[in-house]
């Protein structure tokens, strides 16, 4: 009998835990979805205007990144076109590090050599597939991990 009461108590406790854990993950899930959803607002309202006077090509590339994380964007750039590349993160993130790489020849550009500029123009005189590698550096505080939206946008120079 005592054993049965103990079991009932354990069962109740587990049911409460189940509700708590389920609820916590539902909250986490919706927070994540809404954070992702906020990236398009960030890309549209904050990042895109910085491409001016170049015309945004219309492609949407944005995601949430945390410290120490890296993403890569692969794109073919075409001879005769001038592009403006913008790599922009929310203000809570440290300055973003990005490199432009060519599949055959390696490094073409590294923004750490130009004070971590967030935008740079490329005068493309040969058609190539390039990679834009974007990293969020670890900051000096190991106890707080920061994360937020990062947008990678291309602008096209108009004639």
């Amino acid at each position: 009998m005592l054993n049965e009461n103990f079991m009932k108590y354990r069962l109740k406790k587990m049911a409460r835990m189940l509700t708590f854990v389920g609820g916590a993950f539902l909250v986490l899930f919706f927070v994540s979805v809404s954070s992702v959803a906020q990236c398009s607002g960030f890309a549209r309202a904050v990042a895109k205007p910085e491409l001016s006077p170049y015309l945004h090509d219309g492609n949407y590339n944005a995601t949430i990144l945390g410290e120490g994380e890296t993403i890569v964007l692969r794109k073919t750039v075409f001879k005769g076109q001038k592009y403006r590349l913008l790599v922009k993160g929310v203000s809570e993130l440290p300055k973003l590090h990005f490199r432009v790489l060519d599949a055959d020849s390696g490094l073409l550009f590294d923004n750490s050599q130009v004070e971590f500029a967030s935008r740079w123009d490329f005068d493309v005189q040969t058609t190539r597939t390039i990679e834009v590698e974007v990293s969020v550096p670890d900051d000096e505080n190991p106890e707080i991990d920061t994360g937020g939206c990062v947008a990678i946008l291309f602008g096209l120079e108009l004639d």
Binding site: A15, H56, G68, E69, T76, V114, D123
Partner: protein, 312 residues
């Protein structure tokens, strides 16, 4: 009772696991992790150092970016080609599109057509095609990407090409962002594929299957071999989520077999010169691209065949 306890404990673990999975996918709706194989390829191709090992141990998210309809239209115009209204997907065809697959493909196709029309100052055509794009976006449940105000802004700025192109860029981004952020990235990829194939169709139609008709434009068409690889990679990422992507991949494989006849020879190293004053990097290299006249005709025919299937 013990069984009940075990069941409850299992449920907790499942909910926890489910939560992790949901959270993971929510945070990664726009891209997927790179495969271990490609990381291995990188390791084998460059000298290793500690920093590189550390970099490679971190898995990376990969995004793929295709030339957008606006970029393709600009490539066509820069190559000196003109506007031909007869090669656009007829507006009346919209009544045929009653599946999500056809609607998504043709949203991309009409977006390419309206981008092409806008670049050649075809205001009325641009507005009409934007109307069709809006109807398809609505049918696909893409809320707010193109609304009444968008059409009104287009009408009010008919003579200002820059504003018109900005509106087109914004609506294209809105559609793709909405789909990506609502766990419908696979549909977004179908829209992008439709836009890409239409751009290719417009360009090849303007050369009328002849390598000599506009060499600049032909060169731009042949270099789409590189974009096709990007498109295939993009589709591979979502093939398990959407059976339509599987169908599209088969189509693109057929196209890829003809693009394989295009040879690209890089005759010099790529040179990148950075001008810090003007905040510009110039990327230069010499390369040659070739295809035989017969294979070019085959390429044009295949593109027309795929595109005509898409719009039918």
């Amino acid at each position: 009772m013990t069984k009940v306890l075990h069941k409850a404990s299992l449920t907790i673990r499942l909910v926890a696991l489910g939560g992790f999975v949901l959270t993971f996918f929510a945070c990664n709706s726009g891209a997927k992790k790179e495969s271990e194989n490609s990381e291995k390829d990188i390791i084998e191709s460059v000298p290793m150092n500690d920093q590189l090992v550390e970099d490679l141990n971190k898995s990376k998210l990969i995004f793929y970016s295709l030339p957008s309809p606006l970029e393709t239209a600009m490539l066509i115009k820069r190559a000196g080609a003109g506007f031909d209204p007869d090669i656009l997907n007829p507006l009346d065809n919209i009544s045929k599109y009653n599946t999500n697959f056809k609607m998504a493909l043709n949203l991309g196709i009409y977006s390419a057509d309206l981008s092409y029309a806008s670049l050649f100052d075809q205001s009325q055509t641009t507005i009409e095609y934007m109307g069709n794009a809006r109807n398809l976006a609505d049918e696909l449940g893409i809320l707010g990407a193109i609304d009444e105000q968008t059409i009104r802004q287009l009408e009010e700025n008919m003579n200002n090409r820059e504003v018109v192109m900005n509106i087109i860029s914004e609506t294209y981004m809105n559609s793709n962002a909405y789909l990506s952020e609502n766990n419908r990235a696979a549909v977004s990829v179908i829209v992008l594929a439709g836009g890409w194939i239409e751009g290719l169709y417009l360009a090849t139609s303007l050369t009328r299957g002849n390598l000599q008709n506009n060499k600049n434009l032909v060169e731009r068409i042949l270099y789409q071999k590189l974009s096709l690889v990007t498109l295939q990679n993009m589709m591979e990422t979502y093939r398990d989520e959407n059976s339509d992507i599987d169908r599209l991949l088969a189509d693109m494989q057929e196209l890829s077999e003809i693009f394989d006849k295009v040879t690209i020879v890089n005759t010099s190293e790529v040179e990148a010169v950075t001008d810090t004053l003007n905040r510009t990097t110039t990327i230069r290299a010499k390369s040659e691209i070739e295809i035989s006249p017969d294979d070019y005709i085959l390429l044009c025919e295949k593109i027309a065949e795929l595109r005509n299937n898409f719009i039918s």
